[in-house]
Amino acid sequence: MQHSELEEILDGVRRFVRQEVVPLEGQIDEDDEIPTAIIEQAKAMGLYGFAIPEEYGGLGLSTYEEAQLVFELGWTTPSFRSLFGTNNGIAGHTLLEGGTEAQKKTYLPKLASGEWVASFGLTEPDAGSDPATMTTKAVRDGDDWIIDGAKRYITNSPVADVVMVFARTSPDKPPAEGVSVFMVPTSSPGLSIGPKDKKMGQAGAWSADVVLEGVRVPHSAMIGEQEGAGYVTAMRSLAHGRVHIAALCVGMAQRLVEETLQFALERKAGDTYIADFQLIQALMADSQTDTMAARALVLDVAQKFDAGTDTKMGPAAAKYFASEAVGRVADRAVQVHGGAGYMRGVAVERFYRDARLFRIYEGTSQIQQLVIARQMIRSAGNTGGR
């Protein structure tokens, strides 16, 4: 994409987010719902498919370009990004990474336009960040597959048209070979969506359990129509999703730094603006530094991801650092705001509750640590270090 073209998109999204969405943040938090007008505008702006290639109806942003767009989305409530996060991210990328050409041509345009909402069904009650213990299974029955199992915390499932369901097709094989992924319409008999999860933060972003009881799908619903390819597809989608979430964390951190600065410049203690107190300055400086470091890391990792030179360690490191950094930045924002930062109705209080989830989904911080360390050890082994 031309630089000027990207700048135009970023400008449009920046204006929309700051002028249209930010004023509604409090309402979205109270109502746990994003107004329909915002959803329709997001569709019209192409936000449901910015990371989907142009040939399939999306904007076709590279990961590097996507990161810059997501910085802008992160400026407001993360529930806004969540509307179309799964279409662009983990669910859309499951099709993109693993689908046959025919599947991509048929379904990706529906995701890119927002006609369909797609969810990513990997996590289970007893298999969160580690799919090795997954129990959902699919059994071949003639030309069809019968799927049984339960998925947990599935983002956008209450409004989804399709769910990318990961299931064991060869229970005897390790997950890397025995898991396949199916695109299952939510209207399928036997598929039910649980009540919406009540979450600590990110109100307006909906998730729920997805239960599959004898759900029958044709073989053509298997992504890639190739058995056992699910695990690799999941890992690729998640790697892309990690860069995406890292960029979102940077966006929120930038907003929090701005909220912190403005408050410190306006709030007086005695005759002194609190921005003039050195310990307040130290908090502000640490947050600014954390944010700059996270932003630089995400952009560097995104470029290497596009180039294919680092598709594992970089995304994990960026997601780990940026999600922990925004947690620290939110923490300091509350501290600088004092009592006000602890009360409902104040933006930093809401972001403090919102930010906690970033350290959990798309792989917890603890999982990212393992991914990073395993890559380090593996690369040492490759050069004869072990």
């Binding site: 600590m200 203690a269 107190f277 050195q278 307040i280 509350v334 501290q335 009592g339 959990i360």
Partner: protein
């Protein structure tokens, strides 16, 4: 501090322990460990529990007997707190009056005020809220602007308070007001006792991060109270509010520290049940939390020694203890969330939080209220260590 008990103290401990064994039963045992200053769940049962304690004179045991106390020694009060924590009894609902205002009244109140209020506080008949902070005066409390003007036999109060603890259930408020607008900031303040049930007092709950409304904002519009409802001298309210560090404040701190030890045990149980304890990093977090809780407990015991005159300045000690406890409790809150894993993100009906989620959220306020960590460290550096003052631009 020497914890070897004399035969008399051993007898006292056994008496306390027996009392808890016999009385912490039925509906009280069902809510063992429940509630906190910011958590008003099971309120009615907790107040009934407070009255159960009151009936046998087990509240405010250090107070003089004429007000319903036992004139208990510091050692006895310490033993009582340790036994209270050991029993895992519910958190008392009537703490504001008993642990915070009561000692101040004992130290500074007129005989009339003490006789009027202390017996009702100790009998759990009247509830109190604290009106100190204002929208423009938090950690910089001396900047407060709520004013009280004398009119005949009454004070007339106008202004606004915020983060008023326990305001929603209070019958009375103890309020810092500016009574001499021309005096230097710290010298024109008085502590007034103001009845809530009057047209000039409007109390509105504000929701905090946990979703609860333990804090309120209070609007005074021509509110009135009798002219003798001043604690200490008129215009001497600053010294009254800062107060001498009473034994009760020491025992209250110790009680909170002991409670935190209980939270760590719960975190460890949770980490075992979710399987999080299989991870080395989680185990390190838990060991750190346990070590921090131990240090808090020892700090609490040292503070009791200091109050008995056997250690350093109790005010300095309390400040050290506050910074350590609040900062480490906040770290513990993070570890509690990690112990729960993804489930930590889910809340119940009406934003209901489980105990570990409550630690995560409530601990976030602890580095702010009662003087932020930044203020505490500044004061320790400047006043206690004699380090250079922060340069001012003006």
């Amino acid at each position: 501090m020497d914890l070897t008990l004399t035969p008399e103290l051993t007898e006292f401990r056994d008496e306390v322990r027996t009392w808890f064994d016999e009385h912490l039963v039925g509906e009280f045992a069902e809510i063992a460990g429940q509630g906190f200053s910011w958590d008003d769940s099971f309120w009615d049962t907790r107040i009934a529990w407070d009255k159960e304690l009151a009936a046998d004179n087990w509240l405010c045991i250090g107070w003089p007997k004429e007000y319903g106390g036992r004139a208990a020694s510091v050692d006895e009060q310490l033993i009582f707190q340790l036994e209270y924590a050991r029993s895992n009894a519910p958190y008392r609902g009537s703490v504001q009056g008993q642990d915070l205002l009561g000692p101040t009244l004992l130290a500074y109140g007129s005989d009339e005020i003490k006789q009027r209020f202390l017996p009702r506080i100790i009998a759990v008949d009247e509830f109190w809220g604290q009106g100190f902070s204002e929208p423009g005066a938090g950690s910089d409390l001396a900047g407060l602007r709520t004013k009280a003007v004398r009119e005949g036999d009454e004070w007339v109060i106008d202004g606004q308070k915020v983060w008023t603890s326990a305001g929603a259930r209070a019958d009375w408020l103890y309020v810092l007001c500016r009574t001499d607008p021309d005096a230097p900031r710290h010298r024109g303040i008085s502590m007034l006792l103001i009845p809530v049930d009057q047209p000039g007092v409007d109390i509105r709950p504000i929701r905090n991060m946990l979703g609860g409304a333990e804090f309120c904002e209070v609007f005074f519009t021509g509110a009135r109270t009798a002219v003798d409802m001043v604690v200490g001298d008129v215009n001497a309210g600053w010294g009254v509010a800062m107060g001498a560090l009473g034994t009760e404040r020491g025992t209250t701190l110790l009680a909170e520290h002991l409670r935190i030890a209980g939270e760590v045990r719960q975190m460890i149980g949770e980490a075992r049940s979710t399987g999080a304890s299989k991870r080395a990093v989680m185990r390190a977090d838990l060991a750190q939390a346990w070590a921090d809780a131990k240090v808090m407990e020892w700090n609490g015991l040292r503070l009791m020694s200091a109050i008995k005159g056997l250690g350093p300045d109790p005010d300095v000690h309390a400040s050290i203890s506050k910074v350590f406890a609040s900062e480490s409790h906040r770290r513990m809150g993070e570890a509690a969330m990690r112990a729960e894993g993804a489930r930590s993100e889910l809340v119940g009906e009406e934003y209901g939080l489980d105990r570990l989620q409550q630690i995560f959220m409530s601990s976030r306020a602890e580095t702010i209220y009662g003087g932020t960590s930044q203020i505490q460290l500044n004061v320790l550096a400047e006043r206690t260590l004699g380090l250079p003052r922060e340069p001012r631009r003006d």
